[in-house]
Amino acid sequence: MISRRGFLGATAAAVSYGALPAMAQQQPIRIGMLTIKSGALSAGGRQMEDGFRLFLRERAERIAGRPVEFIVADTGGQPALAKTRAQELVQRSGVQVVVGPVAAFEALAINDYLQEAEVPFLCCSAAAEDLTQRRQNPWFVRTSSTSAQPCHPLGDYVARELKYKKIVAIADDFAFGQEQTSGFQRTFEAAGGTLVKKLWAPLNVADYGSYISQIGEPDAVFAAFAGANGLRFLRQYSEYGLKGKIPLVGSMTTVDEGVLHSMGDEAIGIISAGWYSAALPGEANERFVAALRKQTGVDPGFYSEGAYSAGLALEHALKAVDGKIEDKQAFMNALRKVDIKDDPRGPWRLDSYGNPIENIYIRKTERRDGRLMNTVIKTYENVSQFWTYKPESFLAAPVYSRNEPTKL
């Protein structure tokens, strides 16, 4: 929290900015984060905050020569509250950039507001396809990926290299799960496979037994879960004796490092695709993993790495404009042009829609040194949100959903 006096001082300085540029440089950059601290999605929210705080600590709370003030607001996972929180950050705390939020429905609820208020919106988790596709906001960039971005290469890999022909999909019944499944289905079927069945499990389902019994006998099962659901599904999958009989492929968050530490042998052997793995080689990642493990005891995953990348993107853009975040348009132009080489996940840059073009790693869950790891077995370099399709034709089709591309 900033004190009232501090806020007044900052406002006064901002007013006199034109006259005293040297002094304004020493005013803090105010960064607001929208996260979830209560309810079902709070684990992701906490990891996101941890990732960003780690970045700030490594930079000694200074970016591009200016001190940073970091203000965190809790949305409670409710869209209406998320919008009020965003207003609070902008109007009351006067933040110059908003980082977050965790869930897609929150990002969609605040996107219009931040566009009208012309506040740079650095999304580090919410993966809703349309945020960087059919509902463009010039003030929005994303550092994670779209839901289907890692699933496109996965579908291709599973059909061509693993030679599976018939697959049953099971996913969380909300936008994230649906978009992931649809992306997987599109490339898997384009490469000659068939998705024979899609099973949708409600987000808060207590028991996956009734879904597991509907799986039948496909070549493999594709699972797309978020949060702790992957943990519960995999445990039951193994209890029902399907592990070892029908192989599993999964989306990035199904075996995310954030929950992987709570899993046991049931996770071993799963093939998944993601834009990051804590097991990636390279000095940048090893340092990052060691630092976060020391701080939280958990390996970094989707949420913490997405937030850490948001910090890196912010730093690159701010350095490009000499820390002058007050010139919003110049800052935003610099942010959209970031090209980051030293990210723990590997190099990435933004496409013209504000979504990363990044490496997608095909990973296999293994146990090494007593820890579960997502070992990288193949890398697809520079994958965009449109995979190999032309953006125009991709965007002309309706957004991925439960029934797109095909009804099953």
Partner: protein, 329 residues
């Protein structure tokens, strides 16, 4: 104006009209507008729960039906606002008329469960019927023009609408229909013996309550310009019931006080503590223990007790003091 509630309402409205002048910024104004919108929604719950004694756990359905109808009519079909607003409210009245037929076959705990089930059905439709509602990703509305574009205009609009509905409910409560509603709440069997049609009285209140919730739904959309299945969830319904219980069941201004409490706690307290849901729980616990009839009637009772207590303390000295004030010119 015979009704004392209306006089108080008039005074409060005039005070509330000054609110935008004293609030320090647009953020606080939007919080004040939220209080009015959620307050109106709580008023609709109070109408059925407070005056008829039938607690509904599915009222968010009416808020959501009007909200979705308003959003879809203006964005997809391009209706103008003046046509979409009555249509949206009309649709939620129609839904209330339909649900009432089902839910009012029961009362008490069964009514609670039936309304819960009906609310969840509407939530399920909003969640699953992706082609219409865009599923969990929700529907956004573009920015409004004119009066609605700025926060102050929207605040006054919400103030007038909420004040109007509150006046309507106050007049209703004093009318023969309102009296029979309260009669049905306290003594349904006796009312029935006296020749009143208990079912019809309850039905009228339920449909009217759905209509007010629909109006609150339109205001909700004007304020947030975004709707997703979360708006129809059980959380929203139960929060409204909590607002009514906290403020004072069956009182005129109780729902608004309750709404103010919940909205302020959710939005202001959460800026200072991560444990705001716990704080909310503790405050409700406090209300149940100290003022179980609700904040407003409870405060009135405490004041009265305190006044009586002071009067007996002061004893006879208090009485001669009064004539002095009546000195004439």
């Amino acid at each position: 104006m015979k009704n004392p509630g209306l006089k108080t309402l008039g005074i409060l409205l005039i005070c509330a009209a000054a609110v935008p002048l004293v609030l320090p910024g647009p953020f606080y104004l939007s919080i004040a507008t939220q209080v009015l919108v959620y307050g109106l929604f709580a008023v609709s719950v109070n109408l059925i729960a407070g005056y008829c004694g039938m607690v509904s756990l599915g009222h968010a359905a009416f808020l959501g039906i009007a909200g979705y109808a308003f959003a879809l009519l203006t964005t997809s079909t391009g209706w103008p606002l003046w046509a979409a607003i009555p249509a949206a409210v009309g649709l939620s009245v129609a839904a209330g008329a339909l649900f009432g037929l089902v839910a009012l076959r029961t009362s008490g705990l069964s009514f609670l469960m039936i309304t819960l089930a009906l609310g969840q059905i509407v939530w399920g439709v909003a969640f699953r019927y992706v082609d219409l509602t865009n599923g969990e990703n929700g529907i956004s509305m573009p920015r409004f023009q004119g009066l609605l574009a700025n926060g102050t205009g929207l605040f006054y609009l919400c103030l007038v609408v909420t004040g109007g509905c509150l006046a309507l409910v106050t007049i209703l409560a004093g009318s023969p229909l309102g009296a029979s509603m309260q009669g049905v709440r306290d003594q349904p069997r006796r009312m029935s013996t006296l020749g009143y049609d208990v079912w019809r009285i309850r039905y009228a209140a339920y449909v009217l309550s759905a209509g007010i919730a629909g109006i609150a739904g339109v205001l909700y959309m004007l304020l947030f310009r975004f709707i997703s299945p979360h708006t129809l969830s059980l959380t929203v319904s139960s929060e409204a019931v909590l607002m009514v219980i906290a403020g004072g069941l069956g009182t005129t201004f109780g729902p608004i006080v309750g709404a103010a409490l919940v909205v302020l706690l959710k939005n202001v307290a959460s800026a200072y503590t991560d444990r705001w849901p716990t704080l909310l729980g503790l405050i409700f616990l406090f209300i149940i223990v100290v003022v179980p009839e609700g904040l407003l009637p409870g405060a009135r009772r405490l004041m009265r007790t305190l006044g009586a207590h002071l009067a007996t303390r002061r004893g006879p000295t208090a009485i001669p003091a009064t004539p002095v004030k009546e000195a004439r010119p």
